[in-house]
């Protein structure tokens, strides 16, 4: 009894948490949006995932839909006819890399320039930020005109009396950085091994010898596995298949960077303003020149902003559709992306199941970028 009595003081707060007016109101207020989200976001994601596991095609009034497991996915990654999907993945990969590099590089440069307390900063800031206010469709249409081989950018050298350029831009069929799709598992494993090796090196430096040995060991095993031909053992396409970076994407990358670099500039500018002047002063007193101040003081402090920008730009580029559709049209194979292929597969070829499978692959790609970000953000908010 005494034991029970001593526990009693802790019970009232417990009961209050369960049945409290505020809490009920809160639940009632949240309920509609939770329900709507559950149905219209997660419900339909679930429906799409289910559809991707079936053979639904055609627009029949009473369609006969069979569950076929992962066949659609298997087709997408290894089937003869879905070579276009695989090239689209490669396109997305290269597009994402160059788009991110372009936006971050140009955005940082513009931000640093604007940070020099120049006159008319407000005007320049607006000018650089302005493209972001446009829709991708507008950007795409405009740049399509500019990249028309008979005009626009190609005519530019003519202004100063030079020969016009003869670049094909969006219809260029040249492909560089080619590789065989069958080598891809090996390449991925080698990249993983390299990352692990780097982690092992860092751990070793920090004195975590045992952890370093384990990671390093896994890296060596993976590398050996690939070098001894293990990568080929993973089944891919039946025939060798060349994929690479289509130069036609350069035009699209330029347009996308033009639109989004102003946004990264704004983020970096906010970050730069957040760097305390005392830190810079201290560095200068310690004998840093301006370049060193940026290299050792400012840039490291901007790292969280770079991460946020990468996440936001990364998910834009992984699911890009409108810009490419407006610039190059639906059937320009050299500038195809998974989003366009999904649209055509579902709504032109009526293969809804396969279209759903492409959608799910895109969702997974975006999730790889977004989920770790949300996780770290939510956790740090929680800690605050």
């Amino acid at each position: 009894m005494t034991v029970a009595r001593t526990q009693q003081p802790s019970r009232p707060p417990h009961r209050r948490r369960r049945l409290n007016r505020d809490r009920i109101t809160a639940i009632l207020m949240l309920l509609p949006s939770i329900l709507l989200l559950a149905i219209f976001v997660y419900g339909f994601i679930g429906q799409t995932v289910y559809t991707s596991l079936t053979d639904w095609s055609g627009l029949s009034l009473n369609p006969e839909i069979n569950f076929i497991g992962l066949k659609n996915y298997n087709d997408l990654f290894t089937g003869l006819l879905d070579v276009r999907f695989r090239q689209d993945l490669v396109n997305t990969f290269f597009f994402t890399i160059f788009f991110l590099a372009g936006c971050l590089g140009l955005g940082l440069l513009l931000a640093v320039l604007l940070d020099q307390n120049i006159k008319g900063e407000g005007i320049f800031r607006t000018i650089f930020l302005f493209p972001m206010a446009l829709s991708f469709i507008v950007t795409g249409t405009m740049w399509r005109w500019l990249f028309n081989p008979g005009g626009g950018v190609n005519r530019l050298p003519g202004v100063i009396g030079l020969q016009p350029l003869e670049l094909r831009w969006l219809t260029d069929r040249t492909q560089i950085l080619q590789f065989n799709w069958q080598d891809l598992p090996g390449i991925i494993l080698l990249v993983v091994a390299a990352v692990l090796a780097w982690m092992a090196y860092r751990r070793w430096q920090r004195g975590r010898r045992n952890a370093a040995r384990v990671t390093g060991g896994i890296a060596v095993v993976l590398a050996l596995f690939v070098l001894l031909g293990g990568g080929k053992a993973i089944p891919t396409t039946a025939l060798p298949e060349t994929h690479g970076f289509n130069l036609a994407f350069i035009g699209i990358i330029i347009a996308a960077v033009w639109q989004q670099s102003g946004y990264t500039m704004a983020m970096y500018l906010a970050g730069l303003r957040g760097v305390p002047e005392e830190l810079r002063e201290a560095a200068r007193v310690d004998g840093c020149n301006e370049l060193q101040v940026y290299r050792h003081i400012v840039l490291p402090l901007l790292q969280p902003i770079t991460l946020s920008a990468m996440i936001i730009l990364g998910h834009i580029s992984l699911k890009i559709f409108d810009l490419v559709f407006a610039m190059a049209g639906a059937d320009n194979a050299t500038t195809d992306v998974p989003g366009i292929l999904m649209y055509l597969t579902s709504f032109r070829a009526n293969q809804f199941a396969k279209g759903a499978a492409i959608a799910v692959v895109m969702l997974i790609m975006v999730a790889f970028v977004i989920v770790p970000y949300l996780y770290t953000t939510l956790r740090s908010e929680h800690e605050l």
């Binding site: 627009l59 029949s60 009034l61 006819l81 276009r84 094909r168 059937d331 320009n332 194979a333």
Partner: protein, 420 residues
């Protein structure tokens, strides 16, 4: 708002049923769904105007979704049909694009009674009826006819270069070096779909009408030696085309011929409309035409048509619309403006006020030639095949491997249920 309006309309119809019963013909609304805006808009509007004269009690709603060859319109249509809200009548390429998508889905009404009642079983050529029918019925009313396999050139220029109009692709390949030496592009080509368009003319020439039809009923395999040979010839023909093809529209490819930088161009006969109306050329003088090499006597057709979806809200009004579309009168209103020929053989095609010399010659061929359907423009293959044929073409353009491409084409055919 629209729903409210139609509710009010329905109520007033119910209340005023007695007074309306005195008026002739169907009443209510008629929603026509198409991708005809811009250049093709006036032809459709002329037809709608005539329809409103005949059926004054019907309010016509002209629902257009723009976008090249209907890619956006088709997507919107599919969402509407799946959502149980079909328009009363919609534009669709006659043939398998309709049958493979909507008829197999049991979403269209059989129009055989309408065809019999209007005497259209004789008014339309048998080859066309075959393309728009299945064993279960006739599925749409063709409103116009375009020809796909036409070779365009400028006669005076050919004389200047000393070449004749090729009668076969072998002839064409023989004069190709001559033209190249003269600094002329032998064959002007445009963006991606025009490449597929050229392919169907090459394939028709090598396979012949029977072989071409065989591809689509499954009696000729895409991997058969003749079908593989199509890709070989096609590759050689491509070597005679302009390198910047992918960045040109079909009009720009036609411009190359008119401007004298290219000798020939294979394009559908909407090119005639472009040259006559937009460029102001005189048929026969400013430009000449012939059947694409090796396809003389065969008319590869495509046609826009309208059908009657199951569950159309205003069925009577839609039937009246289809009646006007198929009639010789309706076709003579629409086609001169659209730059095509009437599918109905009763059309007044010898009337020079309505139809220019090119259209008259096309109409003569239409009445006498063997009729086959176009692949690119939806007549012979279901959408799943046509859509994936772009991938097949991409495989060929990347690899230039006839056998691998033929295998891919066969795989797409199997997947789309061709010949099944």
């Amino acid at each position: 708002m629209k729903k409210l309006l139609s509710l009010v309309l329905v109520l007033s119809v119910m209340l005023g049923a007695t007074s309306l019963a005195l008026a002739q013909g169907p009443s209510g609304e008629l929603e026509i769904f198409s991708w005809w805006a811009g250049d093709e808009g006036p032809a459709l509007e002329a037809l709608i105007a005539r329809y409103s004269e005949i059926n004054p009690n019907v309010e016509v709603i002209n629902a257009t979704v723009t976008g090249g060859s209907g890619v956006n319109a088709k997507a919107v249509l599919k969402t509407r049909m799946l959502g149980g809200d079909p328009p009363d009548s919609f534009q669709v390429h006659a043939g398998q694009e309709l049958i493979g998508t909507w008829v197999v889905a049991d979403r269209m009404e059989d129009l055989t009674p309408l065809f019999e009642e209007q005497g259209w079983m004789e008014a339309f050529p048998q080859g066309l009826l075959d393309l728009i029918s299945t064993d279960e019925g006739i599925w749409s009313v063709p409103v116009n006819i375009h020809r796909s396999n036409v070779l365009w050139f400028v006669p005076s220029k050919l004389e200047e270069w000393g070449v004749e109009v090729p009668a076969s692709w072998a002839d064409f390949l023989a004069i190709c070096p001559t033209l190249k030496e003269a600094g002329v592009t032998p064959l002007a080509l445009g963006e991606n779909w025009t490449v597929n368009h050229l392919w169907e003319s090459v394939a028709l020439s090598i396979l012949g009408a029977d072989g071409w039809n065989g591809l689509w009923d499954g009696s000729v395999s895409f991997t058969s030696p003749e079908a593989v040979a199509v890709w070989d010839t096609f590759g050689q023909v491509l070597d005679c085309t302009n390198e910047d093809a992918a960045s040109l529209s079909w009009q720009q490819a036609t411009d190359m011929v008119v401007g004298g930088t290219a000798a020939f161009n294979v394009m559908g006969d909407w090119a005639a409309g472009y040259m006559v109306t937009t460029l102001g050329l005189v048929p026969g003088e400013g430009f000449g035409w012939a059947a694409a090499p090796g396809t003389d006597g065969v008319f590869m057709m495509l046609s826009d048509s309208f059908g009657l979806p199951v569950g159309a809200k205003n069925r009577d009004a839609a039937l009246a619309w289809l009646t006007l579309l198929g009639s010789a009168e309706g076709q003579d209103i629409f086609n001169p403006l659209k730059g095509s020929i009437p599918a109905n053989l009763g059309g007044d095609v010898t009337n020079g006020d309505l139809y220019n010399p090119y259209l008259q010659s096309a109409a003569a061929d239409w009445a006498s030639n063997t009729i086959v359907g176009s692949l690119v423009h939806g007549a012979v293959a279901p959408e799943s095949f046509t859509s994936n044929f772009a991938t097949v073409m991409e495989i060929f353009l990347t690899s230039r491997d006839a056998t691998a491409t033929a295998n891919a084409a066969q795989a797409v055919a199997l997947q789309s249920g061709i010949g099944a």
